[in-house]
Amino acid sequence: MLKITDLKVNYGGIEAVKSISFEVQEKSIVTLIGANGAGKSTTLRAISGLVKQRSGKIEFLGDDITGKDAHFIVSKGITMVPEGRRIFPDMTVLENLKIGAYLRKDDLTEDIKWVFDLFPRLKERSWQLGGTLSGGEQQMLAVARALMSRPKLMMMDEPSLGLAPLVVRDIFAIIKEINKQGVTILLIEQNANMALHVADVGYVMETGRITMSGPGKELLASPTVKAAYLGS
């Protein structure tokens, strides 16, 4: 579904992503794990059109989407839950959901009902301002907002960051549920343990390169991964 070939991204002189290639199969959960500064967020930002790549190719459903503008990428069916949630704090929960469907012109009633079923906590707070939600609720809102565009592929940048373990478990349960409903997931995590448990395929990223890949369970069992990311 998504195919990245030899992607390179620079920030001025800094090579944040140094020629990576990977693939995401339709309906799967793929995770990209790695330490802080490995280039994970940059990879996602390049796919979603927020930064321009230096070279390489990004294909989605057979189309070349390399270097396209962000709104075009969204219209193709790729959405992103950004690092740090980035909900709109001065808008209500409902407005945050509506803005997630910005490019759509059809009726949103069904979709709002769908995300409220996934996140009942948001339904109770639909008139509350986004900024007044707790961290976990903001993360749920960020995910719900992304779903409002009816994405084919949802990319998530460290959804568990800064959340209590119980909330993290909820979030991962929801990720699995969303995937079951047909949305392909590309998940970035530093929480390698959780991520590899839910992922069909995992990639390990280190200083701008992919150094390992394989089925989630295999990586979990790998001594190198264990030593470097699972703290054992």
């Binding site: 059109g49 503008d69 962000a70 709104h71 950004p82 709109f88 001065d90 407005e95 910005y102």
Partner: protein, 296 residues
């Protein structure tokens, strides 16, 4: 009764000029809200609207000239953003500021070239320039029209921002460029719309403001522009209600000072700048300003 008849004309004039400042100030505050840019060219575009009015009114009936003044001014505001600010979107903010100062001088110099440096007589617009009597004091009809029109336009603007899709996009872009783009919002379109609205209001303000004056020179936009800017800072730059309240306060205070007689009239301009200095010391974020947040 004496007191009323003495001060009423000044208060009326104050409310009126306050409304005119408000129409300019909204352009400053909206552009700042979305780009964190002080659009130094805004006051000059306001002056340019006046000159365009002079030239158009000389060649065509007013009923046709008026809408054209607004359309041409709006186009200038749109074009300035596309040509002078958009290419600098990722440049440091200081570069955009310098570009804005450049545009300001460019417009003033173009005006100087076109007018040959001579003061140009502003046409009197029938009906709105007519003299009317209100509570026993005489004034021009524009004095009464301005606050009404200002309130109507601001109400429409607030409604647009609060309830429409483009309004929602404007609120989103003013908070967070990247996330707005992830929603599918075209940043450049939203920024253009902001400039179009701001220049539209300034063009209306220009028609009202200059109808109180007999002539325009290329620097005629500087003083009202500066006062509207102070109003925006006073109200908390980025805040629309703040800019409007600031503009009315400045307009009214200025005219009450003028009521003290001719020796005070010169001081009325100084008042605005004293106010600016005081607000910058006491509450730099203005009446309704948010804490300064640097946008990434």
């Amino acid at each position: 009764m004496d007191l009323i008849s003495k001060y009423l004309p000044y208060i009326l004039a104050g409310i009126s000029v306050g409304g005119q400042y408000a129409l300019i100030a909204i352009g400053y505050t909206m552009v700042y809200g979305i780009l964190r840019l002080i659009n130094f060219a805004h006051g000059d575009i306001f002056m340019a609207a006046g000159l365009i009015m002079i030239y158009l009114a000389a060649t065509m009936p007013l009923a046709i000239a008026l809408p054209f003044v607004i359309i041409i001014t709006v186009f200038i505001g749109f074009a300035v953003e596309r040509v002078a600010y958009k290419p600098l979107r990722t440049a440091p903010r200081m570069s955009v500021m310098i570009s804005a100062i450049g545009v300001s001088y460019l417009i003033q110099n173009l005006a100087l070239y076109v007018t040959g440096g001579l003061a140009k007589t502003y046409p009197s617009i029938p009906w709105i320039s007519d003299t009317i009597k209100i509570f026993g004091s005489t004034t021009k009809r524009v004095t009464v029209i301005t606050p009404i029109l200002t309130v109507v336009l601001i109400a429409a603007l607030v409604l647009l921002i609060k309830t429409t899709k483009i309004g929602m996009a404007m609120r989103a872009v003013s908070k967070d460029f990247d996330t707005s783009q992830l929603m599918g919002i075209k940043i450049n379109t939203v920024i253009s719309v902001t400039f179009i609205i701001g220049t539209f209001l300034a063009a209306v303000g220009s028609l009202l403001y200059f109808s109180n004056y007999t002539a325009i020179v290329p620097t005629s936009g500087a003083m009202p522009g500066l006062k509207a800017f102070v109003a925006a800072v006073f109200g908390g730059i980025g805040s629309i209600p703040g800019a409007v309240i600031g503009a009315f306060i400045i307009g009214i205070c200025e005219n009450i000072i003028k009521s003290g007689g001719s020796s005070w009239t010169t001081f009325s301009d100084a008042f605005t700048f004293v106010l600016l200095i005081v607000i910058l010391f006491v509450k730099p974020t203005g009446l309704f300003g948010e804490k300064a947040t640097d946008k990434v």
